[in-house]
């Protein structure tokens, strides 16, 4: 398990230069094993989004190391040539809002990802439908996103994050728009998926309803992380 999941060592990120430079991350250390769901909690402006963006390979860190699975992706500079393919194949994203593509039906919203990776349409849709069963939205597979409830949309978005079986899932406030029952349901799904697909999941949140569910929590303040054991309460 140690050579899978996510490992971050001394990660730094500075925005801007000179007098106006902001050190958003000042040396972050973090480790998430495959099959584990950890919480990342911190006040606004503490650097949560910056950390997710670095891990998600959409902004470049200033220093440190990032390892996804057994691949060093960053070590003082990108070690991967095609960041777009890295994002597509290795990282699943789940956002605060579902951000589904409004002109694709539910199935194709999810199947689009394997399609982008070159999987034939039929096969890609089959993969999507399998996930819909697990996420209990199979009866909405042909619907358009606008016809879905908020909870259903978020589950479809989770399916999209999972469909390429990425070793890592980054979830940014995935439960913010949901009531506590739905929020706990989402956490349950994420935990099941983590176990089932051996995925390392980081959930950024300040949702009081779900914080007690994490076994492990990273607190982040002023760009530095502190690890803490969570309550690991049942949901």
């Amino acid at each position: 398990m140690a050579d899978k999941g996510i490992r971050i060592e001394g990660l730094k990120k500075r925005y801007g230069k000179g007098d106006t430079a902001v050190d958003a991350l000042k040396g972050v250390d973090m480790q998430v094993a495959s099959g584990e769901v950890v919480g990342l909690i911190g006040p606004s402006g503490s650097g949560k989004s910056t950390l997710l963006k670095c891990l998600g390979a959409v902004i470049e860190p200033t220093a440190g190391r990032m390892i996804l699975g057994d691949e060093v992706i960053y070590d003082g500079g990108w070690k991967v040539k095609d960041l777009r393919a890295l994002r597509r194949d290795k990282i699943g994203f789940i956002f605060q809002a579902p951000y589904l593509i409004p002109f694709l039906d539910v199935t194709d919203n999810v199947a689009l990802l394997p399609m982008l990776a070159g999987v034939p349409n039929r096969e890609a849709r089959k993969q999507a439908l399998e996930l819909f069963k697990a996420l209990d939205v199979e009866n909405r597979a042909k619907a358009m996103p606008s016809q879905l409830s908020g909870g259903e949309q978020q589950r479809v978005a989770i399916a999209r994050g999972l469909v390429n079986r990425p070793p890592v899932i980054l979830a940014d406030e995935p439960t913010a728009p949901l009531d506590s029952e739905r929020a706990l349901a989402v956490i349950r799904i994420l935990n099941e998926m983590a176990r089932q697909f051996e995925t390392a999941i980081i959930v950024v949140t300040h949702d009081e309803k779900i914080i007690p569910t994490f076994k492990r929590i990273y607190h982040i303040r002023d760009g530095v992380t502190y690890e803490e054991a969570g309550q690991g309460r049942d949901f």
Binding site: S49, L52, K53, G56, V58, I59, R84, A85, R87, R88, D89, F93, F95, Q96, Y99, I101, P102, F103, L104, D108, L112, L113, M115, L116, A117, N121, M144, R160, D172
Partner: protein, 401 residues
């Protein structure tokens, strides 16, 4: 892979169809404009074809008889007929004027043709109804576009004519339908004065001591008689004998008769290169402006549609969509808009605009093809602004702050 552009269009088809229809009307106008130009060229060619002439003999140093006034003596044709290589030569007059019929009047090109038979230069080559002119006076053959019918009484100046025959597609280079009348009548019509003017001219002639000489009593009457006849025509139309070269015959008429002679190709050059050149430029300017307006509309719509999709584009980029895919998404939508516009435009131009325009609109397949190419190019160019906006979208935006 699925077509993202296609799915987006199906999702927002209302926007595409309505914008496409608006664009289509513009494209329809553009195609009709090109058709009007082609129609003008075709009218000019029809005029030359229908005259049945190989050579036009006109007043020296003029661009007559269509592009400039020209008058030559009405006996010049005899000498021309005697030249080697000339098969037939006939006088002709052209006069654009309003022809009255009952309550209404129609703008026409009144053409005076010499007596003879069908095939005489200047005669309408075929009729769709009735017969050719057989009498020397007061009969007319009218183009069907005048709206006149067989047996109608036309008034040209003070004289009345009976319509005995109808033709089709006999028009002036300006698109006015033609009315054929006997040459003598036409010569008179060109110079016919009203009674007051005739009386006044007689008075002036009589008051001139050079003409009114008591010792020569017949002189005054002779002068007055010559003043009220018209011995001019506008041109002589010449047909060439088989086996002779038009340029050579033209050259010998120029040399021996000291008149200006145009061949068919020179005449075409005058009609298209000079007579309708200003209209052509004007139409060209319209085409340019319409193209710019169409491009602006497409650019604006595609840009707006793209701005509405910024978040989706950020998500697409984040999940690993290639820039190429996003560029083609936008460009395909732009082209799709152009295609809808082109189809709507082609249909409205063919079924709605061409039939109701008063001028002849000739829609050439080649023009449609060029128009189609232009629409595609314009749409591609118009999508550039939107594409730039889409490429600037940062995938980090999908993650938020």
């Amino acid at each position: 892979m699925i077509s993202l552009a296609g799915r987006d269009i199906m999702h927002a088809w209302g926007k595409f169809v309505f914008t496409g229809m608006g664009l289509g009307l513009l494209i329809g106008i553009t195609l009709s404009m090109a058709g009007i130009y082609r129609g003008m060229v075709d009218d000019g060619k029809a005029l030359l074809d229908n005259s049945g002439a190989d050579l036009w003999v006109v007043q020296k140093d003029t661009l007559g008889p269509y592009a400039e006034p020209s008058s030559i003596f009405d006996d010049a044709w005899r000498g021309i007929l005697g030249m080697p290589g000339v098969a037939r030569a006939a006088n002709v007059t052209y006069l654009t004027m309003q022809v009255r019929q009952g309550e209404r009047d129609v703008r026409t090109l009144v053409t005076g043709v010499t007596p003879g038979g069908p095939g005489t230069p200047g005669w309408p080559p075929y009729l769709v109804a009735g017969r050719q002119i057989t009498r020397g006076h007061y009969e007319a053959v009218a183009d069907i576009a005048t709206g006149f019918a067989l047996g109608d009484r036309l008034q040209i100046r003070r004289n009345h004519y009976i319509v005995v025959g109808l033709t089709r597609r006999m028009v002036s280079s300006g698109g006015d339908p033609m009315v054929f009348i006997p040459l003598k009548d036409a010569q008179e019509a060109q110079f016919l004065k009203d009674n007051d003017a005739i009386r006044q001219q007689r008075r002036r002639t009589a008051a001139n001591p050079a003409f009114n000489r008591p010792q020569v009593p017949d002189l005054l009457n002779a002068v007055i008689a010559s003043q009220s006849t018209n011995a001019y025509v506008n041109a002589v139309l010449v047909q060439i004998e088989a086996g002779h070269d038009a340029n050579e015959v033209a050259e010998s008429i120029r040399r021996w008769k000291r008149l200006t002679v145009y061949t068919r190709s020179q005449m075409e050059e005058i009609l298209i290169g000079k007579l309708i050149a200003t209209s052509a430029r004007q139409i060209f300017m319209f085409l340019v402006i319409l193209s710019i307006v169409s491009a602006a509309i497409v650019a604006f719509i595609i840009y707006t549609l793209t701005l509405g999709k910024i978040r989706e584009i950020a998500v697409l980029k984040l999940i690993g969509t290639k820039n190429r895919t996003i560029v083609s998404l936008i460009m395909q939508q732009s082209i799709a808009l152009g295609l809808i516009g082109f189809v709507v435009g082609k249909i409205t131009a063919t079924l709605v605009m061409a039939p109701i325009f008063p001028k002849y609109v000739l829609l050439e397949p080649l023009d449609s093809l060029i128009g189609f190419g232009a629409v595609v190019v314009i749409c591609i160019l118009a999508s550039i602004i939107a594409i730039r906006a889409a490429l600037r979208v940062d995938p980090a935006e999908a993650i938020g702050g």
